[in-house]
Symmetry: C2
């Protein structure tokens, strides 16, 4: 088996791959569509891409591509905390408080706003393509007074040392990574296994008051619990929305099909994006 | 009056500023929190930041910062289409089909996936900090066979020529930009004015089946139309969610306060993030 992920090496997506599929060969891709296409074209077996709250990708790109371009089910999910560290070249470790510039993805810089403001006031923060790329740049410029914000894997990968751990402002910042593949995955019941989830896409017939309320009634009276709901514009025009709904249970033979039948009777369209186990990394 | 935006110059956010506040001085900031802080600290009067579907920023960062860090109301919104163009240095225009590398923000590259795949197969696509930054790089390397993907303003700003217009895959990709300021803004009724919107944040007391359904009932029976709903995890732990709800009407004295009172009686917490006019650019 071969996995693909949103690269470069040592991104947060790469971390997810190493956690879930340590035994497989993995390939880095530049964009989410490239990575998903590689599964469609049988270059790889599993694509691991961020779905939500991502540093390196966008929920919109992943969802749009899944909905409009390809027909690949979601086979599993890992939710992982985003931990940001300040790292420097070993040469600079003793004087890390004197660094002049910090580079990272602008989202990572934004996530460490308070730390930078309070601890490194006046230090220039500069955007870079990715957190991993920033770490690589710092490694290749050992004599410059610069640091990178990235994850622990990037420090290892590029031979940097962490001057300050956990400099992100919020502790509960997680990213959801999903696994897409043609065939069912035999995912293990690991310690970080949480449960099963079913993700549906519901398109409303018209943007009228109460339509969503009716749809949710079909879940509510069956005690099907929604753990996430998000509205997104369809690509056919402004003002038309569809909804992505996550139910906290596996697809069964009675309740979810019954809810879907009822929702379709309201002239909505329903597509099952996947019913899959999900995992949660605690640290 | 002075505006601040998510820079550098000629980003999509800068485009929004020039559309809505052409007469004001404007300042570019590196991150969304920096830009919002500048309003809090009275360096600028209005912050313009992406709220949704953004290339250069993240809805999460903007929302998190608005909800947890500052208390600034949303005063207005512009929804603008994301049009991506392929641009090269004038020296390269005649041979643009022979370019070897295209640089841009990775999200922009992903948004032009089909075009790149079909029209420029084999050309290397490389990530850059921002679309505007990529355009600047191309301008400064006039002899290299490279192109950038960016907006029209970036082409003008950095003296590039557009080799191919509208290379993005989806036509209905819009970004919402919001205006934050301490004082009320006297926004004009422009041709692209659409209407009023009220944005609420609703925190549920516990993640139980049907809670959201009850909340939506309070809007539904008053015929308050939801144009957007999104669930987001709170920062206090996993499994606790709040909802961001957009109603397609201005805050009134009866209906919305009545719905809020009812929702609060269900032990939910409601915060009004703003009631504001919104504008939509068509092209």
């Amino acid at each position: 088996m071969k996995t693909g992920y949103l690269g470069p090496r040592a991104t947060f997506t790469d971390l997810a791959v190493r956690e879930m599929f340590p035994e497989y060969e993995s390939v880095a891709y530049t964009t989410i569509p490239d990575c998903i296409d590689a599964v469609v074209n049988d270059e790889i077996d599993i694509a691991v891409v961020p779905l939500e709250n991502a540093l390196e990708g966008s929920v919109n790109i992943t969802l749009d591509y899944l909905i409009h371009e390809v027909d690949l089910p979601i086979r599993g999910e890992l939710s992982a905390p985003i931990r940001q560290h300040l790292m420097v070249h070993p040469n600079q470790l003793d004087n890390w408080k004197e660094i002049k510039t910090i580079i990272s993805h602008t989202h990572a810089i934004a996530q460490c706003h308070k730390f930078l403001h309070q601890e490194l006031k006046g230090v220039r923060a500069e955007g870079y393509t990715s957190t991993a790329g920033a770490a690589q740049y710092v490694a290749e410029h050992s004599d410059e007074p610069i640091g990178a914000i990235a994850n622990e894997l990037a420090a290892k990968e590029y031979g940097l040392v962490i001057a300050k751990y956990d400099i992100h402002d919020f502790d509960f910042n997680h990213t959801r990574f999903i696994f897409l593949s043609k065939q069912a995955l035999n995912l293990p019941i690991k310690p970080n296994y949480v449960g099963y989830k079913t993700t549906l896409m519901v398109t409303l017939p018209a943007d009228h008051s109460g339509a969503l309320h009716q749809v949710l009634s079909a879940f509510a009276w069956r005690k099907l619990n929604l753990i996430k709901i998000e509205s997104r514009p369809t690509k056919t025009g402004l003002g038309n929305y569809f909804f992505i709904v996550d139910l906290d249970t596996a697809l069964d033979d009675v309740l979810i099909p019954g809810a879907i039948a009822e929702i379709e009777a309201l002239d909505c369209h329903v597509k099952i994006l996947g019913s899959y186990p999900y995992y949660q990394l605690k640290k």
